[in-house]
Assembly symmetry: C2
DNA sequence: CCACGTGGAGAACGAACGTTCTCCACCGTG
DNA sequence: CACGGTGGAGAACGTTCGTTCTCCACGTGG
C-alpha cells in the first residue's frame, strides 16, 4: 500500500485541488484553475495525474487519511473512556468554526457525483465506514455496548450536515449533549 | 404566495427534472435529457422555465413541499405524543428502502452547488430549517422540552446521510432507538 | 558550436452543454 | 385557397472544459 514520497509539485497540486474542490465542488473546478492555484504547468499536472478523475480520487484519498488522523490525534490526547468519546464532538465543533467549513467533503462529493461515479460513491462509503468503526472502537473501549457506537455516529453525521447547511457550529454541542445522555447509563456515577 | 395551476407540460417537466436531478445530480443532467424524459419540446421548456437555474429552483421548491407534506401526513396519522415523534423514523426507514433512494436532495444539491450558488444554498438551509422546526413542534407537543427537538433532528439527519452513503436503511432503526432513549425520561412509565 | 532532451506557456482540439434560431407542418378563419 | 399564428424537431451558436499539441527557451554532453 505504499505511496512513494510525493514530489513537491504533487503536494502543491493536491493542496490546490483540495482547497478548490472542497470550496466549490468537483465539477465547478476546472483543471485550469488547479494549474493556476498550484503554479504547476498543465503538462506536468497531467504527468502527475493522468486525468481529472484520478486527481479527484487522490484528493479524496488524502483528505480521508488526514481527516481521520487529525480526529484520532485529538481524541487520543484523552484517556480511553467516556471523555474520549465526547472529545470527538469538541473536535467537530472546532472544525465547524473554521473559515471555509462547508461540511463533509465525502458527503458533498457523494451528493455531486455519487449517482454517476462508482469510484466517488465508494470513496464516500469507505470513509464513513472507517469513521463509524473508529467511533465504535472508542465506545467499546470505554466499556459501553457496541451498538451505541452506531447511535453516536449518527449524531456526529447529523451535526456535520447541520452545521454545514445551517452554518451553525453549535450543532456540535447539541450532538455532544445527546451523546452524553446516551452514554450516561454506562457511567452512572461520574460527574459532568 | 400562490402559484397558478400548473399546466400539464409543467408537471411533466418537473417530474422529469426531479427524477433525473435526484438520481444523477444537477450538473450531470442537461436540458436535453429533461426534454427527452418529459417529451416537452425545448422551445416550450424554455417558455416554462427560462433557464436551467430557474428549473433547478422549481425542482427544489416542489420537492421541499412534497417531502414535508408526506412526512406530516404520515406522522399525523398518529396522536400527538411520543409515538408521533418516533413515527418520523419509521417514515424515514420506508423512504430509505425505496428504489433509487440517494439521500436528501437538498444535502446533495448543497454539496454540489452550495459553494457556488447562493440560491441552492438558501434552498437547502430553508428546507432543513423547516424540518427542524417541524420536529421541534412534534417534540414540544409531546410534552418534552424543546431542545430535545434539535437532538432528534440530528439523529434524523445522520440517519439520512448514513443510509444514503452506506446504502443501509437500518440507519433509521438505529436512530429511532436512540431517539427513544432520549425521549424516555419524559415518558417514564409508558411501555415499548 | 551543435545535437538533444526537458519543461513551461499557452494555443488548439473535440466534446458537451445552455440557449437561441430556423424551418416546417398544422390548424382555424376569411 | 390564402394567411397568420402556434408549436415541434432539431440545427446552430457560443462557451466551457478536459486533454493534447506546438513552439520555444534552456541547460547538458560532445
Amino acid at each position: 500500500m505504499g505511496s512513494v514520497a510525493p514530489t513537491e509539485a504533487e503536494v502543491r497540486v493536491l493542496d490546490a485541488a483540495e482547497e478548490l474542490f472542497y470550496a466549490r465542488g468537483l465539477q465547478a473546478v476546472g483543471m485550469d484553475a488547479i494549474r493556476g492555484a498550484s503554479g504547476v504547468s498543465l503538462k506536468r499536472l497531467y504527468q502527475l495525474f493522468p486525468s481529472k478523475d484520478v486527481l479527484v480520487e487522490a484528493y479524496l484519498r488524502r483528505r480521508d487519511e488526514r481527516w481521520r488522523a487529525a480526529l484520532a490525534s485529538h481524541a487520543e490526547a484523552l484517556p480511553a473512556g467516556r471523555e474520549r468519546v465526547l472529545a470527538v464532538f469538541d473536535w467537530l465543533e472546532r472544525w465547524f468554526a473554521e473559515d471555509g467549513f462547508r461540511g463533509c467533503a465525502f458527503v458533498n462529493s457523494f451528493g455531486e457525483l455519487g449517482g454517476v461515479s462508482p469510484a466517488v460513491a465508494e470513496a464516500a462509503r469507505a470513509h464513513k465506514d472507517a469513521f463509524r468503526r473508529y467511533l465504535g472502537g472508542l465506545v467499546t473501549e470505554a466499556g459501553a455496548p457496541a451498538p451505541l457506537g452506531g447511535q453516536i455516529a449518527l449524531l456526529a453525521e447529523g451535526a456535520i450536515v447541520t452545521a454545514a447547511v445551517s452554518g451553525d457550529p453549535g450543532a456540535a454541542r447539541t450532538a455532544r449533549e445527546a451523546a452524553s445522555v446516551l452514554l450516561a447509563p454506562y457511567f452512572a456515577c461520574e460527574p459532568r
